[in-house]
Amino acid sequence: MEKIEDKNQQQEEEQVVNPWEVSAKEGGKIDYDKLIDKFGCQRLDQSFVDRVQRLTSRPPHVFLRRGVFFAHRDFNDILDAYERGEKFYLYTGRGPSSEALHLGHLIPFMFTKYLQDAFKVPLVIQLTDDEKCMWKNLSVEESQRLARENAKDIIACGFDISKTFIFSDFDYVGGAFYKNMVKVAKCVTYNKVVGIFGFTGEDHIGKVSFPPVQAVPSFPSSFPHLFSGKDNLRCLIPCAIDQDPYFRMTRDVAPRIGYHKPALIESLFFPALQGETGKMSASDPNSAIYVTDSAKDIKLKVNKHAFTGGQESIEKHRQYGANLEVDIPIKYLNFFLEDDAELEHIKKEYGAGRMLTGEVKKRLTEVLTELVERHRRARAAVTDVMVDAFMAVRPLPNMFD
């Protein structure tokens, strides 16, 4: 049985995690165990990682190996079906609220690209320009423009155009998509949506009626040009765990309208440079590494703003070692350093005090610079026509190849 959030319960809890706000309890960090418990999803344990490796015949993605994607709903069903020869499709998205994308934004896309390549399945990407227009009070034109700009960075993550459909709500809502939206809306009472998302009497009706928009891409019939005749196709949604409420609602509604429940695979929050008290914020440039940062910027940010677990003096550091629990460079390396052996070595040496913070920061700067550089090169190759092509309502005949 899944727990549906109750508004009162939310107010008593210490940490707040929902699509619009993520904050840990006073001075602490996010307690993911509590979150899994509260939300009612499952831990992704090593057996899943091994199974994925077996099924896809390739090494599992670094995010799986390091527990970045750590929770799921019904991922085992997806894998069972896959083993029987039944494919699925991927669904992920972005709320285009700003032009500046940081590494935290890229994480679900990097993982989704891996899933697309490993399982050879199609992908739909939703750009919720309408949501940002409503929540951030942007003009319609501005939110559409941001959607297209963000699409370029998303494409730069390396998605295969012959298997990927990107759409913006303002462009695509209508037809079969809208029919599903109405079906979903009919199944969710006003009280329930207030309970899940915390709407008040002061919130405008746009907000209240938005959730079905994010729910229906989970149903293949929303995309007749792609999945016509494949009503049984399952959906897997890689996302950050703060998006869980949308899909709890969707999973509750799905069986009532005759659809499969979408499966989820959820990630941790990428910590801000200054420390693990919340997620990166696009409005504070020093809290994050942006995809437009130069090598110099990255070096400066890592050196000046990264919160470390190193001791105050070299002598103390050699004696006690670093506090790996709070050290941001180590956490970042955990996300982005591919080589397991090297990471282990660094953790061991740093934790024992034999390696200094400066060295760890240097290695991190290298890794991040390479990542950002590669992204920038890919981004430079994305043209407006390419965005049009990704967003064109067209069949994808080779989407399972």
């Binding site: 390549d117 494409i155 390396g158 998605f159 295969d160 155009i161 012959s162 590669r374 890919a378 430079a380 190759a381 994305v382 043209t383 026509v385 390419m386 049009d388 092509a389 064109a392 067209r394």
Partner: protein
């Protein structure tokens, strides 16, 4: 497609350059030409198509009587004593796009001859008219140096005349006086026939051999690659870099990265005899993601071009 004789003549008329023309049977040498154009006003020219060791090309156009010493010229260009030789026949067709025996200063009108350096005999200036082939050996045209200048300027060339018979001392304290005539951009065309076989070889051979040919290819390519990159950088922000859809450049980029990674001083020092095995490992580990990303960009760009063409496609008329 190369510029044709008729196009050239039309252009000269457009530019209001005075010239006279004379048709005759095809001639391959100045002596043969002399037999037919003896009645023309003007002095015959001799034209040499030369190449240096770094595959740079030169057209030397001089009065028929001017003595041109290739050894001296080579030194004056800063190419050393034996740096200049006659260009191979294929280059004539590929770069100048004229037939054998038809080298002429007018050939630089072709895009393929963009990087060819043009050296003109100052002797032309003191003559009333000089005779050249207008891109074809079955005709000769006579015009004066000013007319030639006007034409060259119209195609963006700066005509400069030099004393081809001069033999200044070249040494440590006397730099080559014609060094400015050496083309600065490495030409791309001449490298192509050499590049293609290496690229094909490297897929078939074992890893060790592959890296050698890759290294050789990369070295040959690198200068032009860098020159192109430098040119493209300011444009990058406005347009996407062109290699995205060009299969040749795409493969060169891959080979560049592969060899840069493998044939570095560090890797040779580090691994010595084990280099072969290390090379294989490195290719797989470090390059796999990089190359996959490049391949995806390539695929997406190709698809996009098809998509664009599809939106503007005109269905067959029945």
């Amino acid at each position: 497609m190369g510029y044709s004789k008729d196009q050239l003549l039309a252009r000269l008329k457009e530019l209001q350059i005075e010239f006279s023309q004379y048709e005759h049977p095809v001639v391959l040498t100045v002596e043969a030409q002399a037999k037919y154009v003896g009645n023309m006003v003007g002095v015959l020219s001799k034209n040499l198509f030369l190449k240096d060791k770094k595959h740079r090309y030169y057209v030397v156009s001089a009065l028929a009587d001017t003595k041109v010493d290739l050894k001296v010229l080579s030194q004056r260009l800063g190419l050393g004593k034996g740096g200049l030789r006659m260009a191979p026949e294929e280059a004539l067709g590929e770069i100048l796009q004229v037939p054998l025996g038809c080298v002429t200063p007018f050939a630089v009108v072709n895009e393929s001859a963009r990087h060819v350096s043009l050296l003109l005999d100052q002797g032309f200036k003191s003559q009333e008219c000089c005779i050249f082939h207008p891109l074809s050996n079955d005709m000769s045209i006579s015009l004066n140096a000013q007319g030639l200048d006007t034409f060259l300027k119209s195609i963006g060339r700066n005509p400069s005349y030099i004393d081809l018979e001069a033999n200044p001392p070249i040494g440590k304290d006397q730099p080559p006086d014609l060094a400015a005539f050496v083309p600065s951009d490495s030409p791309v065309l001449s490298d192509l026939p050499e590049k293609a076989p290496s690229a094909q070889d490297s897929t078939g051979k074992s890893v060790g051999a592959a890296t050698n040919s890759a290294a050789v290819t990369a070295k040959a390519v690198k200068p032009s690659g860098n020159a192109q990159n430098v040119k493209e950088k300011p444009v990058d922000s406005v347009r996407p870099s062109i290699p995205a859809a060009d299969a040749g450049k795409f493969v060169e980029e891959l080979l560049d990265r592969a060899s840069a990674l493998l044939i570095s001083e560090d890797s040779i020092k580090q691994h010595g005899g084990q280099l072969g095995a290390e090379v294989a490992n490195n290719i797989k580990k470090c390059l796999r993601e990089d190359i996959k990303n490049l391949a995806t960009i390539f695929k997406n760009t190709a698809y996009t071009e098809g998509f664009y063409a599809g939106t503007r496609y005109q269905p067959k008329r029945l």
